[in-house]
Symmetry: C2
Subunit: 257 residues, 2 copies
C-alpha cells in the first residue's frame, strides 16, 4: 500500500519572528507574540471561516518550510535534555521530520474580513514570519484537552530565565514602544529571552558572547550575566545581517556591537 | 508567495472501523476501539520512536484518503447542528477540506518493536482501517491541554444514546466474544452506537430502517426504538455488502435482514 499527496498553502502567517533563533520551542509560551494568519485565494472567503469566532483557540498545521530541504533525521537531541540524549523523531516535535509538518495551538483574538480579504488575529504562535499554513482547525476542548496526559520530558513548561535591560537598552525600549509598529514590545522581548534561546550545550558553560534576536524589524542584542539575561541594545535591523542570522544562531563577538 | 509540498505515508493505521459510517465524530469517544499504527519503510526503525513510550497520548496527522478525490467545500453542515446551519470549513473538523489532512489525539498503550518492525498500540482513534498516517507527534500536556478553551458548538461531548441487545443479538455477542479476534466487542459496539451514527436530519423523524455498521469483520445490525438503539443481529461480514456500505450510510430494508 502506498500513498502520497500534494499539499498547498491555504494561508501565510505574519509574526514578529524574523529568524529561527529565538522562537519559543512550543506555542503558548510567549503570549505577547501577536500575529496574523492571512488566507490566500481560493481560500480567502468569508464563508470559509464562518463560525470560527466562537472558538478561543485554533490549531494551525504548517510547513517547516525553511527546513524541508534538509530532510528528516531518525533521532534528535532535544534541547531540554541538554543535547546529550537522543530521542526518536516521532517522540519529539523536532522541525526536521518526515513531511515537514508542524502543529501549533494558538489563541484566536479576532476574525478580520475587510475588503474581501480574510485574516485571523492570533497570539502565542511559535512560527517564523512567512510560514505557510496548510490547515486551520478549531480547538475542540472535550477531545483535545486531556486532563491527565503524561508528557515524558515535556511534562512541565520550561524554567524561565530572569531578563533585565541595561540603562541604554531601557531608553531605547521606551522610544520604540511609542511606535505602534511594535505592540507589547517589552513583554515580547522578555517572553522570548526568558526561554533562553541559546543551544542547550552552551548553558553549562561561561558564555561571554553577544547574542542577537530579530523581532519585528528590530535587532535585540543581549548577553548572559551571573543572574540571567541582560538586553544591552535595541536597534533597527540591518537587512543583510538579519538574513545571515536566519541561517543559524547568531552570536556576535562583543567588538561587533 | 506560493508553496506546495509532496507528502507521503509514514505508517498505516489498523482499526476495527471498516467503513466510514459508524466512526465516532471525534477521537477519544470510544475508548474500546483498539488499533495499531504500523510504520512503513524507511520510517519503521526502532530509533525513530525511541522515548515515545514515556508519553500517554499521541497526535496522529493523517489523510482523509477516501475523501481526497471529492475535494473541499467552503462551508459544511455539522451533524451537531442538525444539518440546518452552515459553518466555514476552517471552523469545523470536516473531512472535506483543503489538503485533506486530519488530526486526532489517541491513547498510546505500547510500542512494539518485533522482528525489526515498529507498531504502536493505540485506542480511542476515529480512523478508518487503512488510513495513511503522515506524522506522529507526542502529546505535550503543558502546551496542548488548554484548560479554559471555549469550544463553540463543540463545548461538550455529544449526548449518548441508550444501546441494548435483542435476545438473539445477545447470544451472538457471547459467542463472538470468545474469539480473541474481537477484543472488547460489547464495549466497542455500545460505544460506537451510543454516538448514534445516523445523519442528523434523520434524528427528528420516526425511523423504521435497519442499519448496519462494520466492526472488525462483523456486520452489526440495529434499529431505532422508542428508548434508543437496539442491536438485532451480529454476523460475519459479506464482503460485497461491506464494500458497498463503505460508500454511504447503509440503511437496509427490514426484509433484507
Amino acid at each position: 500500500m502506498s500513498f502520497s499527496n500534494q499539499i498547498q498553502a491555504v494561508a501565510y502567517c505574519r509574526t514578529p519572528y524574523k529568524q529561527k533563533f529565538g522562537i519559543p520551542r512550543q506555542p503558548g509560551l510567549v503570549s505577547a507574540a501577536r500575529g496574523f494568519v492571512e488566507l490566500v485565494p481560493p481560500f480567502n472567503q468569508i464563508d470559509a471561516v464562518r463560525g470560527l469566532e466562537q472558538y478561543s483557540h485554533l490549531w494551525l498545521l504548517f510547513c517547516f518550510h525553511e527546513n524541508l530541504a534538509a530532510g528528516w533525521k531518525t533521532t534528535v537531541r532535544p534541547p531540554r535534555l541538554g543535547g546529550n540524549e537522543k530521542l526518536g523523531v516521532f517522540a519529539t516535535r523536532s522541525t526536521f521530520r518526515p513531511n515537514g509538518i508542524g502543529q501549533s495551538v494558538v489563541k484566536l483574538h479576532a476574525v478580520h474580513t475587510r475588503n474581501g480579504k480574510v485574516s485571523l488575529e492570533i497570539s502565542g504562535m511559535d512560527l517564523l514570519d512567512g510560514t505557510p499554513i496548510i490547515d486551520i482547525k478549531p480547538y475542540i476542548p472535550f477531545s483535545d484537552s486531556i486532563e491527565n496526559a503524561q508528557g515524558g520530558i515535556a511534562q512541565e513548561a520550561p524554567v524561565l530565565a530572569n531578563v533585565s535591560f541595561s540603562g541604554q537598552a531601557q531608553k531605547q525600549l521606551e522610544q520604540y514602544q511609542q511606535n505602534p509598529a511594535y505592540p507589547r514590545l517589552a513583554e515580547l522581548i522578555e517572553g522570548v529571552l526568558a526561554q533562553d534561546p541559546r543551544p542547550a550545550y552552551k548553558k553549562a558553560k561561561a558564555d561571554p558572547k553577544l547574542y542577537q534576536v530579530a523581532l519585528y524589524d528590530l535587532d535585540i542584542l543581549w548577553v548572559i550575566t551571573d543572574t540571567g539575561i541582560e538586553v544591552t541594545e535595541l536597534r533597527a535591523s540591518q537587512v543583510g545581517k538579519t538574513v545571515q542570522a536566519d541561517k543559524q544562531p547568531a552570536p556576535l563577538s562583543p567588538n561587533q556591537s
